[in-house]
Amino acid sequence: MPGVSLDNAAQLNTFLAGVERRAFRIAQMALRSPEDALDAVQETMLQLARRYAQRPQAEWPPLFYCILQSRIRDCQRRRAVRNRVMSFFGGQRDAEDDPPDPIEAAADPAGRDPSEQLAQGEAMQALETALDSLPARQREAFVLRILEGLDVADTAKAMGCSEGSVKTHLSRAVHSLRETLGEHWA
């Protein structure tokens, strides 16, 4: 990686600092586990640094989210295999059996008003539930294009498809979400 300079490392640090929270929330929404989400984000950061740090900075966002989506899928696949194996041996573990997550149980560090926090939490919960009901590619397009704010070209690169496919997936996702969330949500 001869092209990596000290400025490049600083730029990478700035980029990662700018996306790390949203990347964590995207992974958490998909994986439903803060620990798995943190692992996915950490692996994504390392892989971006190892393989693509020398690339132009403009290419980092789609590459980062492409890697992140790949890590999320890997984690989901591992879980599916683990669940199959556990169910085969009759020891399937339910999510309800897990100990409560201390991160989720902690007080709001932003110090927001409880009613505001509640409303915010309910709105986010409704959005997450609605997103869960979408097909994977539609959910991916919506998350990257609307929640993360990538443009259509970068979303297409991150998803590994054409811009036309992104528009189609996004249109269908918005249509489904409109029906699921209803008028009052907006």
């Binding site: 990686m1 001869p2 990596v4 300079s5 000290l6 490049n8 490392a9 990478l12 640090n13 990662l16 600092a17 790390e20 929270r21 949203r22 964590f24 929330r25 803060p34 943190l38 984000v41 950490q42 950061m45 390392l46 971006l48 640094a49 190892r50 740090a53 201390p102 991160i103 902690a106 709001d108 560090p109 932003a110 927001r112 926090q117 915010q120 709105a123 986010m124 959005l127 919506f142 609307i146 929640l147 704010g149 918005v174 979400l177 409109r178 969330l181 008028e183 949500w185 907006a186």
Partner: protein, 135 residues
């Protein structure tokens, strides 16, 4: 639902999502910060590796080219000197003995056979020869 309400839905989704990233727990933020530092350190480590070992690539390429050139020269050059004889004249004689089908024990008793060969053959008695012929 018209375009305005659709736009409002998208804006609200974006805002709700962004708000959800604000109130992350300190432990999560610490883990994210640690992961970011590791990633940046990895970048710097690779940069320093290439800086320290920047000579390795050209040197290796030159070495490979040199070895290939020498190998090519050896392979393509005709034999300029006659081959060194493998065996001298005496060695050839010894090798002929070793490769022959004769019994090697015979060579151990060479003195006996020299004596036997030096003896003149004795003429056989006339009577014994005639008797044999007649019998």
């Amino acid at each position: 639902m018209n375009n305005d309400s659709e736009t409002a839905l998208l804006h609200k989704a974006h805002a709700v999502f962004n708000d959800s990233t604000i109130g992350l727990h300190a432990r999560v933020l610490a883990r994210l910060r640690e992961a970011r530092k590791r990633a940046v350190a990895e970048t710097e480590r690779r940069r320093s590796f290439w800086r320290v070992h920047s000579w390795a690539l050209p040197t290796g390429a030159v070495a490979i080219l040199f070895v290939a050139a020498v190998g090519g020269l050896i392979w393509l050059s005709p034999a300029s000197q006659p081959a060194v004889p493998f065996l001298t004249g005496n060695d050839n004689a010894d090798m002929a003995i070793v490769l022959s089908n004769d019994n090697l024990d015979m060579y151990a008793d060479m003195d006996f056979y020299r004596w036997l060969g030096a003896r003149q053959p004795q003429p056989a008695p006339q009577g014994a020869t005639a008797g044999n012929n007649n019998g």
